[in-house]
Symmetry: C2
Subunit: 352 residues, 2 copies
DNA sequence: CTGAAAGCGCTTACAG
DNA sequence: CTGAAAGCGCTTACAG
């Protein structure tokens, strides 16, 4: 066991190099107007001494932390089951690395709501900016951040003040529109929609796209075919069963998440309903689940990684240049599989 | 848009409350020997002023950050596809919240190796302790941390200095032993093993348990039946195909990760090999994939969440009380499903 | 139980 | 291009 070496400071380096602490500091931050000569010299000493700048002290003096705060939705199941979050987080981490930031993650406390966490991050001066990983109607965090004009970016669409909020999203309206139109094109007449939480902006957009497509396909919108629950399997069971019992029964369902879709598929399989012959199913997120499922699911690839990466890009612009209201749209792709297309289940499913 | 309120400081609070900054500081940190009276008074002023302590300044003065650093494996695919990491991370976040710590996540830089990230976290004084999410043989991070005696805990088993390293793990030796024995009991004679990366401690342990069980079941260990690759589907394809071509062909495979197992299953299905009749398959992690798969997989539930949670518990003890060498074993469960048990695939698969 | 003082390790106008 | 000085907002022996 080696003794913990007492930490070197700028002062130590300065003395050894025969310069002032200010100069050492300038070398650390790569200040432009410092002579190559002294820079080299100081750098050499720093290396010799094994010096490394204390980030905390730098933060206190400079009022920059080099850290971004990432707010995960507090409902912990999301992080667990829904591949969207790890995948988007991976994009965020990649982005943070690329732009030279560290990532502070919100810790999921039961009682505390999201806004409390945001407030704490900011008031304790631990972060330079914030990424909000989901957006719901009337979101308090967004309101707070807009109000104090703190740099942040949003994965999803702002519920308000769109012109001021940096955000990255898919065109969920179009995605749902296209998906619905596709189902109509393959001959489906009664198309139901099972959505995750109604309060989410993403849900709103998808419902709108769905309604618009129905209208253009001359299928009357029937509010009894619209179900909203949670982003879990349970929701799929529940509404799958409800749909099963309807007369006339829908012949297609759009489901806003693969996990929900699984619940529904299970119900239909149990009841001997053939997919896609009797019931076409199309969902969102194109998670690994949708590929490996018993019946591979048609699903919308939303490119979660890109969503995460770009959220950091936007945030960094917001921090460095005060940018507000920037918007990035990430393309989606509808990946068609057996649950709508049908094909011999013994053949390997199309890998996309 | 409201002007960003200039931040209150201890000094402001002190003046308004008619006490010294020292006293305010003691109220903040809930110092024991402070009179209830002054405490109340100061608390009230803090509230009135909307004061919130600056965490950075506290850190600098106190040399405690209230933050733990979590090191994700840098191979980014892991985080993406393998449900172990998000689930363990969820446990870590929960633990951090419970013990009052924030979580700083390692950002995945291509070039930087894990130890560099650990070093940077520590030398920049950004964290009080570190959680290492995986352990491999000859792990440099562990060596470094042991050497400077910095508080950390490990998910997995230390490759060295077991007596000094706080760690939390399953009994992977026993898990593999039991799983192998089980396959032998149901009549399998040639049991292959496909493992993730050989350098991982977890792989070593499982291989040992497997070998021991074979011996006790009077099945000769055949090194040609041991395959090591990566934690991905590809590995499953490759070695699944290799096993398919063997004569005599194995009649069972233990696979150390559900994702790898999927690759293998796909190969066998494509070749018309019946599972489990011709080939029993058992894997690890009991991920959501193993339940939803075409053929539900027998898999070992390792309780990733608990692993994560306990790693933080250990770490906090290490930080606060200087504890070293504590060890926690998290129980595992073998969840038996169709891939070894067989049953009518039309029946709903057993949910566990 | 409370205060005055020094200090944590940097950065940054300011002046030259 | 470089240095002296003040300061970032707290904490913590020390003394009383």
């Amino acid at each position: 066991m080696v003794k913990k070496t007492t930490h070197m400071t700028v002062k130590d380096v300065a003395e050894k190099a025969g310069v002032s602490p200010s100069t050492v500091s300038r070398v650390i931050s790569n200040h432009p107007k410092i002579s190559e000569e002294t820079k080299e010299k100081v750098l050499k000493i720093m290396d010799e001494l094994g010096y490394y700048p204390n980030a905390i002290a730098r933060s206190l003096a400079s009022k920059k932390t080099g850290t971004i705060g990432v707010i995960l939705p507090n409902r912990s199941e999301d992080l667990l089951l829904n591949p969207f979050f790890p995948e988007a987080l991976r994009g965020i981490l990649k982005g943070a690395a690329a732009f030279g930031y560290d990532v502070l993650l919100s810790t999921s406390t039961e009682g505390k709501n999201e806004m409390e966490i945001v407030k704490t991050f900011i008031r304790s001066s631990k972060v330079d900016g914030i990424v909000l990983m989901s957006s719901s109607v009337g979101d308090e965090s967004q309101a707070y951040l807009n109000n104090i004009d703190f740099p942040y970016s949003l994965i999803g669409s702002p519920y308000d003040h769109k012109e001021r909020v940096n955000h990255v999203d898919n065109d969920n309206y179009m995605a749902a529109y296209e998906l619905t139109t596709y189902l109509s094109m393959i001959g489906r007449k009664r198309i139901a929609l099972i959505a995750g939480e109604i309060g989410q902006m993403v849900t709103m957009k998808r419902v709108e796209g769905y309604q618009k497509a129905l209208m253009e396909s001359n299928i009357p919108y029937d509010e009894h075919l619209l179900f909203t629950g949670k982003f879990d399997e349970e929701t799929g069971y529940t509404y799958g069963a409800a749909i099963l019992d309807m007369t006339p029964r829908p012949d297609a369902i759009i489901i806003t998440d693969d996990l929900i879709a699984f619940g529904a598929v299970k119900v239909f399989q149990g009841a001997g309903v053939r997919i896609p012959e009797d019931m076409a199913i199309a969902s969102f997120n194109n998670s690994i689940l949708s590929r490996y499922s018993d019946i591979p699911l048609t699903s919308v690839e939303i490119n979660s990684f890109e969503l995460g990466y770009e959220s950091v890009n936007l945030l960094v612009q917001s921090i460095d240049q005060g940018v507000r209201g920037n918007k990035v749209i990430i393309p989606y792709t509808i990946v068609k599989r057996q649950s709508t297309e049908g094909h011999d289940p013994l053949l390997p499913s199309p890998v996309s």
